[in-house]
Amino acid sequence: MRQERFEAEQAPPWDEYQRLLARLEGRPSARGAPSGMDLGGFPRLYRQLCADYALARGRGYSPGLIADLHDLVRRGHRRLYQRRSRPFASALVFATDTFPRTLRRHARLFWMGLGLLFLPMIAMGLAVHADPEIIYSLIDSAQVAELESQYDPAGRKPGRETDRQADTDFAMFGFYIMNNIGIGFRGFAGGLLFGLGSALILVFNGLSIGAVAGHLTRLDHGGTFWPFVSGHGPYELTAIAISGAAGLLLGQALLAPGNRTRLAALRLNARDAVILVGGAAGMLVLAAVVEAFWSAGPAPAAIKYGVGAVGWVLVALYLGLAGRGARGS
């Protein structure tokens, strides 16, 4: 069949296809509700167009026509294969099912992450508690003095100015979001450096937290420090360990790819790792809420310790049990 006749014969479905495509490419508001019925024919028209494109190439029609058809195919492909996103429904499934299950599948790396965070933390805490000089090898003296005055039991409340109001809580909330989730994300990305970046970030954070805790306890400032950190600690520390574990998952793909090529293993692991990071970010948002609006609050120390203990139990139950027995996914 000659090109001109082919073009003339196929013009009506092509025009119809272009009409639907224009509607699909328009802004969502301009698409209008009643178009739903109308668009039903789009996949059929698209397949027809694909066949026409293949014919045009096979028959050696003019490059201009082939390019035009390819352009139409490409635009349709983009619309037809667009992922549907329903953020709220999928966020619920993510939190109750996908995230905890994915984490349990990588339990070994999670324990490694926890170990890399907590072992240096405990060791540094004990060392600083025993020897007052060690903290200065990690944190400079100006910052140490700042910390001391911040948690001084005789002075103001920790994390709170003398006359701190609800307003300040919100400013601190913004700061915790930016700072802590940023640390979580970097802990994940560092995993691409053969896992080293993640491990370093975990160890360094562990050392710093341990040093501060040990130092303040030795100065008898523990009475203000421990109630302050107990509330948000369970969520924040666990989440940092999880994002570190996500980075280790990337590192694992590069160091021990198994039967796959390193690239294929990286891709596979990255898919799970980003789920872990997303979950960790959610936990860090929760931690920031608790830290800003509860930890600095006026509740007595006993209640704060209680809330902290309940927090650890909740985190353990959530990560250990959520999504168990749910339908396979």
């Binding site: 069949m1 000659r2 090109q3 001109e4 006749r5 698209y46 397949r47 694909c50 066949a51 494109y53 293949a54 050696g60 029609y61 003019s62 490059p63 201009g64 026509l65 390019a67 035009d68 390819h70 352009d71 195919v73 490409r74 492909h77 983009r78 294969y81 667009q82 992922r83 996103s85 109001q165 307003d167 300040t168 919100f170 400013a171 601190m172 909330f173 913004g174 700061f175 979001i177 930016m178 989730i181 940023g182 994300f185 994940f188 990305a189 560092g190 691409l192 450096l193 970046g197 990337l250 690239l263 990286l266 891709r267 990255a270 898919r271 790792a273 980003v274 789920i275 990071v277 997303g278």
Partner: protein, 232 residues
């Protein structure tokens, strides 16, 4: 077969056709990055006055900074396929099978941007882009994404309505396509160039000058339309 030096990749779709993916190199991507930097800087400037609204404003500003730092590219890529800078450069982010990028892949490639940025100003990313056949930085490699040139805005094409002349036997399909392509692109070439190109094809018959152009256009007309009323 040795790899062609070409920036077009083919991906077979479920419909059994080859979709062309034109991967974008480091220069347009760097320019897009620069434009996005400007847009982001503008957004930062918009956020800073929030700090005047006492501490609640500071909190909102910091959250805004956080979102801008990590989610600016993700939001635009998932919603529109490209950040404003990429869109201005005619680029689009897709999965390596040519489908629009989704949330997980976009998150991976943008969180790993931190590593591509090392040690200064996308050093790692640039090395990766230059080494990889498909111009992928590390984030793209891990996420399985490509950055493509989005649009091919085709100029209008018509094959001049000259009287058809039968094509001599023995012209291969590629030659016939070259003749059709010549006819479509003719109006955008200079007269001298048209003659020069046409003479390549008509040299065997000894036809030269304007006559060669008319002869090749006649062939194109015959290829596209047949002998006037002839069917099939």
């Amino acid at each position: 077969m040795p790899r062609q030096i070409d920036s077009i990749r083919f991906n077979e779709t479920p419909e059994g056709i080859d979709l062309e993916l034109r991967v974008a190199g480091p220069v347009p991507r760097a320019l897009a990055l620069f434009l996005d930097g400007l847009v982001r800087a503008g957004l930062y400037l918009v956020l800073i006055p929030l700090s005047a609204l006492a501490d609640t404003g500071v909190g909102l500003m910091l959250i805004g900074f956080f979102l801008l730092e990590w989610f600016y590219p993700v939001v635009f890529e998932v919603r529109a396929g490209a950040t404003p800078g990429k869109r201005a450069m005619g680029l689009v982010v897709v999965h390596d099978d040519g489908t629009p990028v989704g949330l997980p892949a976009s998150m991976i490639r943008n969180l790993l941007r931190v590593v591509d940025f090392l040690p200064v100003f996308y050093g790692v990313g640039l090395v990766s882009v230059l080494l990889d056949h498909d111009f992928r930085r590390l984030g793209d490699l891990a996420a399985g994404t490509l950055v493509l040139h989005a649009e091919r805005r085709a100029p209008p094409r018509t094959i001049a309505d000259t009287p058809p002349v039968q094509v001599p036997p023995g012209f291969a399909l590629e030659t016939q396509q070259a003749i059709l392509s010549y006819a479509e692109r003719g109006p955008r070439l200079s007269a001298a160039r048209r003659v020069e190109l046409a003479e390549v094809l008509t040299a065997d018959g000894g036809i030269r000058g304007e006559a060669a152009v008319r002869r090749v256009e006649g062939w194109a007309s015959w290829l596209a339309r047949g002998r006037g009323l002839e069917a099939s």
